[in-house]
Symmetry: D2
Subunit: 336 residues, 4 copies
């Protein structure tokens, strides 16, 4: 039993997902694609050697009779529209982050999905599918360290492109921690604060980098996340959970230990694409398997909504320097 998927957006990440759905995962097939650049969409179909119709736009693709599920990987500002259209068509949709560019947009999706009466949306947060984070959550859930009290985390990139701005440190970078830490803790945020150390010399003039984001959760966990996107030395993701009677730390990516040149060393990855590559496979396979089993269990539109509201508070905190509240309605039973 193979799931027929239509993919909206055939750029870098869309193309990669098409390859994955066609050649790596079990139980899926890409039967429809579309892109704002139709030629590019056709080229991807050809290059990947698949049989898929190229549609004029996302709405036509969603409407196509043989499309059973939709994957949205187009430009961020178009996400909300396509996700809402998929819900309207009653078709499951996997939407790359952001779910919508505003918290308000996320709220509309959450409401539409609830009105539909059954979960249809999975948001492309892949960290909960990373083997290391899953081991970390297993340790916490097995009560090996007691209940969590604090998290110390870091998200570091060697460098970023010129167009990367200070608020993107929240919306493109921290957004992953916002999601995965809430998932680790089974919790959500009530306040946010941002402090700026002296600026790193490698950061471009318009960018304040690094920054430290302080989050507080509903259960009273205090979180500090260092975001440093010009750290030079590597793509480095750190996460340490301090519990009532012990501490658990996210594993480093596996690498060969070397003794050479007066150093005992392990390699640190330089490219973020290498870090979570396996998690993308697991994430989409879970989406396919969950649909086959009749129930989505991955990151929901509610998780997308939490992330959007929290990110808004963080951006406000960047400007104000103050502790900003994160105001969220309580989680509907629908998303329990």
């Amino acid at each position: 039993m193979t799931l027929n998927i239509g993919v909206i957006g055939t750029g870098a990440i869309g193309r990669e997902h098409i390859r994955r759905l066609s050649h790596t995962l079990l139980g899926s097939r890409v039967v429809a694609v579309t892109d704002i650049n139709a030629d590019q969409a056709a080229r991807v179909v050809q290059e990947l050697g698949i049989t898929a119709e190229v549609y004029a736009d996302g709405h036509a693709l969603i409407a196509a009779a043989d499309v059973q599920a939709v994957l949205v990987a187009s430009w961020g500002p178009t996400h909300e529209e396509y996700v809402l259209a998929a819900i309207a068509a009653g078709k499951p949709v996997f939407c790359e982050k952001p779910l919508a560019t505003t918290a308000e947009g996320c709220r509309r999706i959450v409401e539409a999905e609830q009105a539909h009466g059954k979960r249809l949306v999975q948001v492309g947060f892949m960290r909960p599918y990373d083997a290391g984070y899953r081991q970390l959550k297993a340790v916490v859930d097995a009560d090996r360290i007691g209940a969590p009290l604090m998290i110390h985390a870091a998200h570091r990139n060697p460098t970023v492109s010129e167009h990367y701005s200070t608020d993107m440190a929240i919306t493109d970078t921290l957004i992953h921690e916002i999601n995965v830490l809430a998932w680790l803790l089974d919790d959500h945020y009530v306040s946010a604060q941002v402090v700026f150390p002296r600026k790193a010399p490698a950061a471009r003039e318009h960018l304040r980098d690094p920054q430290v984001v302080l989050l507080e959760t509903a259960k009273g966990v205090r979180i500090d996340v260092e975001v440093f996107v010009n750290c030079q030395y590597g793509y480095d993701i750190q996460c340490e959970i301090v519990g009532e009677r012990g501490i658990a730390r996210l594993p480093e990516p596996t690498s060969v230990q070397l003794r050479s040149e007066a150093r005992l060393s392990n390699e640190i990855l330089m490219d973020w694409k290498d870090r979570f590559i396996a998690a993308y496979d697991v994430e989409l396979q879970a989406f396919i398997d969950d649909l086959a089993a009749g129930q989505l269990t991955g990151p929901s539109s509610w998780d997308g909504y939490i992330a959007a509201v929290t990110a808004d508070a963080c951006i406000k905190a960047q400007d104000s320097g103050a502790i900003e509240p994160v105001t969220l309605p309580s989680r509907p039973a629908f998303y329990a």
Copy 2:
């Protein structure tokens, strides 16, 4: 394009491979099974929910028109017979270790395969498919430590069953190191020696455990492998390659670092089945993909032959206490 596979032997490992080929891997389907216990074979087919004919014996299965490739997972003494039959039928065959119970049997397979004119046989040595060993080989092949001069390795089990005998430390345990170290070094063995430390108190009366096996390769690499199958504390596989200007060490399995109860600790696996579980998937997927691409590249019958000859020398060395030669013909171009 799906490969139709027939599986001979539906015991623990056979059943696991059938599950893998049916539900986890891409491009394969199990269409035929057989077992000395026909009821058991039928039950496996039913429990795994697959559509596969149950054959009376391995020869009937090999002869079946829709069987494109054979997987041998039956009792060791039957392997040679089925592999030879598959070669005679011109069908690719994946044979769990041992390829044959004697070096002579392996030689017969090697000769039959060469007479056939094209590689048909892959032996079930899975370590070369383990991510850690692949990283280790990549480091060596990239000349990060210079040419290898020595290897220090260990193969430890917490405990073994009552029927485990001193020579099984070679044929069931060390056999993996014999294979993977030759693969890491692209080399083969010229002598073997075994020394026995004082016996571990946990070892049963009939078993000499631990033992240290010393191997010498054609290129002059010296290897020591500690085999200790009653070490109590874990299933622990260690491998350190000493090169001309550096040392590379096999990564430990990934685990969460804990600070708790006055210890900074990482978990060590207790069950060997957890250690190389992912490697089995990679190994069989490679077999399927290689067949689709028209050329087997995994562990060959020659590798099975090397392992058998080397194991024989090790067993002789257990008894003699002397340095025993490992006498191998040079590798035929066919297996280059």
Copy 3:
């Protein structure tokens, strides 16, 4: 050439210093002691087998002709008085922390010392004498990671006594980080903030524990220090300096790596006395050697003053929940 030292206070830490000065270090001798409990002082003299006069009080001891230097290890509220007396007598004085119980008291000492015209005071901050911190500072000073931008630190005790109060987390615990981080960075603090996670269940009713202290330095370094004095699992001191292009981490105390009971583990100390034991020897030996060389170089009364002012701001921040300024005059050339 042996330095004759008088020790004020022969309780636990005083007695330990007397032992050290008499039997472990080079170039010192304890010739005078005093304690509010005169019998106890006499007993210490006898038990340690030294020849030292027991004085009625600290002032008599300071005045004694054969006392060349004074060590103050009495009850905290008496420190200021004795340090001022030693300065008045023109005698060098090593004062256990706190230098004075108020910032105002520290300021008076700073002024008296400057009026005297030459450094006479060393404060008993021992972390800068710990081998690990010295290695860490050497790495930073050698520009191995670029200029520091952030520090992530933790100070954890397994448990504390009943009388330990929330503000003691600053004055008794964090005070070491306040000192050593300023020394590591060659910097001082400009603001402080404290956030309280959900309380640890092991903390007594009157104690808010853990807490996270956020410090900002004059050079713009941002520091977070987790203070958790009921962490159960160990006495654990962590310090990670994030520089412009790399990160340096305080070494863990040396211990044997064990593979046992399904764990790869290193011991974590449970008792703080074991952690910095060697640093006390180095600290006092440096005091003796510096006096012999004619110039004190260790933690100065100005460092004591910085610590007191910073601690005051932290305690205010505990109550206010706000970001509190740390207001310090600029460092006099005298203490450069």
Copy 4:
């Protein structure tokens, strides 16, 4: 109470010991020195700022009335003569390794010392005074891993001087492992074997390097020691004890963990002098303290004898390629 020491030999190591005895350790004073180069001896006295008489030769020094103990740091072939003279004079003697250049010479010292009736000799094996080895022994002695069954060890130097020969890998390098492993295990050796891997390209023409030495102890422990003195990457001492139910590993020297340049790394020492520098202080302080307490407890002349006999067997094994017996009389009660 200060011990008056006479030092024979004021070359590199002798000078360093004089500095240590004069300026670092407690309870000792160098009152007499001698060297084959009398000018050099006088210069050392002057440069180190000590008051010591320069004697014409070692015998005059040993005879001097104010010399209470002797330290022998002269050329190896002279050791036996001076140690015997010190015993004849009834004076304690600390002798740098080797105790004598032949096993026969060591035996003569052992006999002379026993005839004297009280231990007078300590041999300069410093590894048992290294903090890491002491931690390792404490773990074993506390029965944390069960009784030892095997040891895997390595002794690696980045490079050696031109005059370093294949047998010096035993007498100058392995000799430390011969001593420290016997001490760790409270055991001695019964056989030795040496195997030579392919030669490292950095090794000079006349030198066979690396080599693996296999030792067997009286209690049945099997030991492999890799000796590799052209390993390029560092001075690296490894020791792993495999016990009945766990494994203990010698700690690495303390160093700052760095994240920089795509590496998570710790420094490896390049110079052997940095590795055991602290152990030399501890070793000589123990000699002084033991004499004050009236009983030597450090490495004895018997330990020197064991080392010499074992080294002889190893050198024989280098040539023969065979398993060579190590024949030792049983340990006299005198050295229990």
